[in-house]
């Protein structure tokens, strides 16, 4: 306990009175050393989240969205993973420079994570009440009895019916949606300031997905938490996000507020994605398909990583890596929060 008090004391003075973003990721690079060479999973990612805000990180498998989240949480497998460059500022402090002990105080208490697959994330041989109570026992030093009472309270919070009766049940006795609620309860147990949800509803049916997303949004409002929602589902993003970062081959290719980005995408990849999904409310003709495949991360194409699949690609795209340009309206006024990593973002936006 004494260690905890000491690290908290170190943390608090700077945390108080800090009014920058809650989390600020700067120029983050992550690579994995494998037998086939170095896989560059994240190549210079920048994003920030304010308290009470929802940032959606959108991308296909292999785009680096989950690896970024793991780096923030400090649960990246190192080795083979390595963070050669970058900063992850949480309330103004770089977490990458902290000691393991300091990070452990943040993990779970200040930043918590919800995983995709609730069944494999929960321990099958321990009751859910025990696993939920562990948060309180380990972090707050509560007794077994008090922790269990808190666990029941938390299960009520996430609307698990008959929480008191089910606290001693095991994960396999719950349905998929209920298990995901337990994951949410665990993440929220210590009222963290930031939640990272990695594909929280991908394994669920649509009706249950709607329940879970509603619950998450409600709790987020109540606690005024920052939320990073990692997903590949453009529909879910449109429903809940405030702003979006679209990732491709380890870089953010476009970011912006959700309404503007959907209305008028500024990167050919985003545009292609939006055009390639069938719509529920209209019967379309043939779907637009982005040709080709996502790149192999050990051999990312030179220049813009999207160039082999891009309909607008020109010579400059094969040689120069496009920076994330801030976007402006045709009359020169700045579009707040919008940026695109495309040499031809103007042409993309205007048609």
């Amino acid at each position: 306990m004494s260690i905890i008090d000491k690290t908290d004391a170190v943390l608090e003075p700077e945390a108080v009175g800090f009014d920058g973003p809650l989390l600020d990721v700067r120029d983050l690079h992550v690579e994995f050393h494998t037998r086939d060479g170095v896989a560059k999973a994240v190549n210079g990612v920048n994003y920030s989240v304010e308290a009470g805000e929802t940032l959606a990180v959108l991308g296909e498998s292999g785009s680096g969205k989950s690896v970024t989240a793991q780096a923030i949480m400090g649960i990246l497998d190192m080795p083979p993973g390595r963070i050669p460059r970058g900063e992850i500022m949480f309330r103004g402090q770089d977490m990458l420079k902290m000691s393991e002990e300091q990070r452990r105080r943040i993990r779970g208490r200040k930043i918590a994570m919800i995983f995709q697959d609730a069944l494999s994330s929960l321990n099958p041989v321990l009751s859910v009440g025990y696993q939920l109570g562990e948060m309180y026992r380990v972090h707050e030093g509560l007794s077994k009895k008090a922790a269990k009472a808190k666990a029941i309270e938390m299960m009520d919070r996430v609307k698990i019916p008959a929480a008191a009766a089910r606290v001693n049940d095991y994960p396999h006795q719950f349905s998929g949606g209920m298990r995901q609620r337990i994951m949410i309860a665990m993440a929220l147990a210590l009222e963290p300031e930031l939640i990272i949800a990695d594909e929280p509803t991908t394994a669920l049916d649509v009706t249950v997905q709607a329940q879970v997303m509603d619950l998450l949004a409600e709790l987020q409002r109540e606690y005024r938490m920052g939320l990073i929602l990692i997903t590949h589902d453009l529909g879910v993003v449109a429903d809940v996000a405030d702003k979006i970062a679209v990732m491709y081959a380890g870089r953010i290719v476009e970011r912006g507020p959700v309404h503007e980005l959907y209305r008028n995408p500024g990167h050919p990849y985003t545009k292609g994605l939006l055009e390639s999904i069938p719509r529920l409310d209209q019967k379309g003709q043939e779907l637009y398909a982005i040709k080709g495949l996502p790149p192999n991360l050990t051999r990312i194409p030179s220049g813009c990583a999207f160039n082999p699949r891009c309909p607008m690609a020109q010579d400059v795209c094969r040689t120069d890596v496009p920076p994330l340009h801030p976007m402006t309206a045709p009359d020169g006024t700045e579009l707040v929060g919008r940026a695109s990593a495309c040499h031809f973002w103007k042409e993309t936006v205007n048609g």
Partner: protein, 382 residues
């Protein structure tokens, strides 16, 4: 196959074959010949009637006794027309994959009939069943586990020819496999590669090529794109649509993604807990749903349009799907339905055009299994 059956008939008429054998051989040959006959476009090619599949629940190790049954599919009927795509949607556990297995004859139906060109395939065996199986093929959900990692692509796609050698004589097979690879948009030179050398989308193309190998008439697709990335999904969907036109295929397309089902299907059936809740054309189901479950399901789908989120009405169902081992009495949806009344607990609603829409010409006049069916547009923002 057509040639084979002709030979059989000639053989039958030779005088030195005993009488009894002639009769037997002819009926089998006729059965096979009947299956070879083409079906006109727009005619039903597959008719499912009151199909039931119960999986027994047993207790005890040495002396197993039956203590109930999981009613995975509990009396569903539908037609699949030649050249169309019938989409089947529903939550996990509603029995959609069991329907696929029953149609493939991979599971024996507990009761009910499946007529393929007028023949009940649940009763077939031997040569006649083999002939039917040639014409009904399947594409599986997971392209990572449905391809044998120790076989080359050429062996995987060519394997159906081992079982049905009449489709491609031995010398032709390699050429045939390369043609198939070309058809599904893969380089024919990849014939000697192994599945792990391909990406998810490419593997699904291999699965599709295998399904096409025997020139089937019906392809049953069980969640064929749900394991794929968004940008690759569109490629595979477009490929499947192209193949349907090219080879005049009928698809039974099972998926949980309602947007994709709308895109590809001509007609859509909505399943809930082993029963068909509603069936109709895609416009009837998506724009004019009358069953409360369909309405709830559609309203829960996230629409990729942030402008819609403020004024779209969401019907959020409470609770989970009940266990199919012990389904609710009467209407199975009543435990989660906001319209449920006493009648719903007592009477099972039949899948029929609701009384109130019977004589009208509106798109709401399609089959719906609800006592209180009424139209409600939940997809389009008000």
């Amino acid at each position: 196959m057509a040639e084979l059956s002709k030979n059989d008939e000639q053989g039958d008429t030779t005088p030195n074959v005993s009488e009894v054998e002639v009769v037997e051989a002819r009926t089998e040959a006729e059965e096979v010949a009947a299956l070879e006959a083409p079906v006109e476009r727009g005619e039903p090619i597959l008719q499912v009637r009151n199909l039931v599949k119960h999986f027994p629940l047993t207790q005890g190790i040495l002396f197993k006794k039956s203590v109930g049954a999981v009613k995975a599919v509990d009396g569903i009927s539908f037609d699949l027309y030649q050249g169309e795509t019938l989409g089947i949607v529903g939550e996990s556990g509603c029995g959609k994959s069991t329907v696929a297995k029953l149609l493939m004859n991979l599971e024996r139906a507990t009761a009910g009939e499946i007529f393929y060109k007028g023949q009940d395939i649940t009763k077939l065996s031997g040569r006649a069943l083999k002939a039917v199986r040639r014409n009904i093929q399947m594409v599986f959900q997971d392209p990572y586990t449905s391809l044998n990692p120790r076989m080359t692509v050429g062996d995987i796609i060519g394997e159906p020819f081992e079982i049905h050698p009449e489709v491609a004589p031995k010398g032709d097979r390699r050429k045939k496999v390369q043609d198939l690879l070309d058809v599904v948009g893969l380089n024919p030179e990849y014939i000697n590669r192994y599945p792990h050398q391909f990406s998810g989308g490419q593997r699904q193309r291999i699965g599709i090529a295998r399904g096409l190998a025997l020139n089937p008439e019906i392809i049953i697709c069980d969640e064929p794109v749900s394991a794929l990335d968004v940008s690759v999904q569109a490629q595979v969907i477009n490929l499947m649509e192209g193949l349907q036109d090219e080879f005049n295929l009928s698809y039974l397309f099972i998926a949980h993604d309602l947007s994709i089902v709308r895109h590809i299907s001509d007609r859509v059936g909505v399943m809930y807990l082993g029963k068909m809740a509603e069936i109709g054309t895609d416009t009837q189901i998506y724009d004019h749903p009358t069953h409360p479950y369909t309405q709830a399901l559609l309203s829960a789908v996230p629409v990729p349009d942030p402008a819609a989120r403020e004024h779209r009405e969401r019907i959020i169902l409470t609770g989970d799907v009940p266990s199919p081992a012990n389904p609710p009495s009467g209407c199975r949806f009543r435990t989660r339905c906001w319209k449920a009344q006493d009648k719903c607990a007592e009477e099972v609603p039949l899948l029929a055009v609701p009384e109130r829409f019977k004589n009208s010409d509106t798109p709401a006049a399609h089959e719906s299994a609800c006592h209180f069916a009424e139209e409600k547009d939940v997809v389009h923002a008000a």
